[in-house]
């Protein structure tokens, strides 16, 4: 966002904190949403950290990427394929959704 917009807010009586919450944050909402979606999509494929922090407890901390790993380990390729396909489709839908929303916002 342009610095001058913040300067204008200050000259209009907003303190730095006030201007941050009433101007900078609302103007950056798009950035926040984009960042949240991207981190979510990225986390879908996360493996090592999840395993390290959360472990691999079925029904509690088991995530799809680790489930796929388990299936491959036990040579259960059918399940692995299915879950991989679900993961791919889900990631695709999330990213597609973000691009569509982004485009609509920028055309406004």
């Amino acid at each position: 966002m342009p610095r001058q917009t913040l300067e204008f807010a200050w000259t209009q009586g907003a303190s730095k904190l006030d201007a941050f919450f009433s101007v900078a944050v609302p103007m950056s909402v798009r950035g926040f949403v984009g960042a949240a979606v991207l981190s979510f999509a990225h986390t879908l494929g996360e493996f090592g950290v999840v395993l390290m922090v959360g472990g691999n407890i079925p029904g509690e901390t088991r995530v799809i990427s680790i489930a796929i790993y388990d299936s491959v380990e036990t040579l259960d390729y059918g399940d692995a394929h299915q879950m991989s396909l679900v993961l791919l489709g889900f990631a695709f839908v999330v990213l597609l959704g973000m691009f569509v929303v982004n485009k609509r916002w920028s055309m406004r």
């Binding site: 342009p2 001058q4 300067e7 807010a9 000259t11 209009q12 009586g13 009433s22």
Partner: protein, 350 residues
């Protein structure tokens, strides 16, 4: 080393600012009237914007004024209107209002003055440049600032939008008492809008005074060449419908200008550029130029190797003429001579 202060003494506002940078030094200590529009005129890089930013407190960390920007009560209209894109026009103009306790200025009056009635529910990105600038000006005014700073508010607009916005600025000037500092590098804009004029060059104020008075000085390099010219306040007297001309009367006679100007009590401001004025010793009768005025030479000053500025007294007003030094020598022009001034063109404030 920085000293700065915006304090209001009697009917004046004192501007005292100093700022030193490696490549630029600003040193200003001047008083301006606490009413009307004060023009701040100078070339680009002369420190106009820096001075405004000092007054507003936007030059970070350089201020000895203990008050932060948001407590100074100084409004700032930027060259590019800075509206908040997530708020509609109504909430944009109320942004400053909700953050002030004083409301000397009536909201409905400002909305009407700036013609914003139909725009209130729109979002800023649907506005034209001129509309956005009007919204920005309204939001600044509604905060009832002690002083409004306008940094070339017309510079980002094309000629048509400028013409559109100027009448609104005239109305503000006539109806509101808020003092305004108006920065411009266009002498036409300054001549048209301002009452008082500050000239800035290389960070220093080189002239300050009433507009007519400063414009009629011959010793200011900033106001020589194409910037030289005088301003006359005249009154419409008669409209010649056959040739579509209006006769405007002033202290030194009558000037004819194309178009129709209402015969009203209010005076019309004319700007006459020095390069559009020539001097004759005898009254020229076979000339295509309509406006010939009897004048007396008040001063002659060389303003370059080849040109000279002549100040002519016409009634109680002044005209400036930019002529060659050779003509000055050939006609032996000197102070006190009775001459005739031919005026080729006149710019009228509509």
């Amino acid at each position: 080393m920085i000293v700065q202060d915006v304090s209001r003494i009697d009917a004046h506002i004192a501007l005292k600012h100093a700022l030193r940078r490696s490549d630029f030094e600003l040193d200003v200590d001047v008083q301006i009237p606490a009413t009307g529009i004060t023009g701040l005129f100078g070339e680009s890089g002369s420190g106009k914007t820096t001075l405004l930013r000092c007054i507003a407190g936007l030059e970070a960390g350089l201020s000895h004024d203990p008050r932060p920007v948001h407590k100074r009560g100084v409004g700032y209209v930027f060259q590019e209107p800075q509206l908040f894109p997530h708020l509609d026009v109504r909430r944009n103009i109320e942004f400053g209002l909700r953050r002030t306790s004083s409301n000397r200025i009536d909201q409905q009056q400002v909305i009407a003055l700036l013609g914003l009635g139909d725009l209130l529910d729109r979002k800023p990105d649907g506005l034209s440049g001129g509309e956005a600038q009007r919204v920005a000006i309204a939001s600044v005014l509604l905060r009832s600032p002690r002083l409004v700073l306008m940094d070339e508010p017309l510079a980002s607009l094309d000629q048509r939008r400028k013409e559109e916005l100027l009448p609104y600025l005239d109305r503000l000037h006539e109806e509101l008492s808020v003092p305004i500092i108006y920065v411009s590098h266009s002498i036409d804009e300054v001549s048209r809008l301002c009452d008082h004029l500050l000239l800035i060059d290389n960070g220093k104020i080189v002239a300050s005074g009433e507009l007519h008075e400063v414009l009629s000085r011959l010793d200011l390099p900033l106001l020589s060449g194409s910037n030289a010219g005088s301003v006359i306040d005249a009154k419409a007297q008669r409209y010649d419908s056959v040739y579509d001309l209006t006769e405007l009367g002033f202290s030194g006679g009558v000037l004819c200008v194309p178009g129709r100007y209402e015969e009203r009590a209010k005076s019309v401001r004319l700007r006459i550029a020095a390069q559009d004025v020539s001097i004759c010793l005898k009254r020229p009768d076979a000339t295509t130029i309509l406006n010939v005025l009897a004048a007396e030479i008040d001063d002659v000053q060389s303003v370059g190797p080849s040109s000279a500025l002549v100040r002519l007294a016409v009634g109680t007003d002044y005209l400036l003429a930019l002529i060659t030094r050779r003509s000055v020598a050939r006609l032996q022009l000197k102070k006190g001579d009775a001459v005739y001034a031919q005026v080729k063109s006149v710019t009228v404030k509509h």
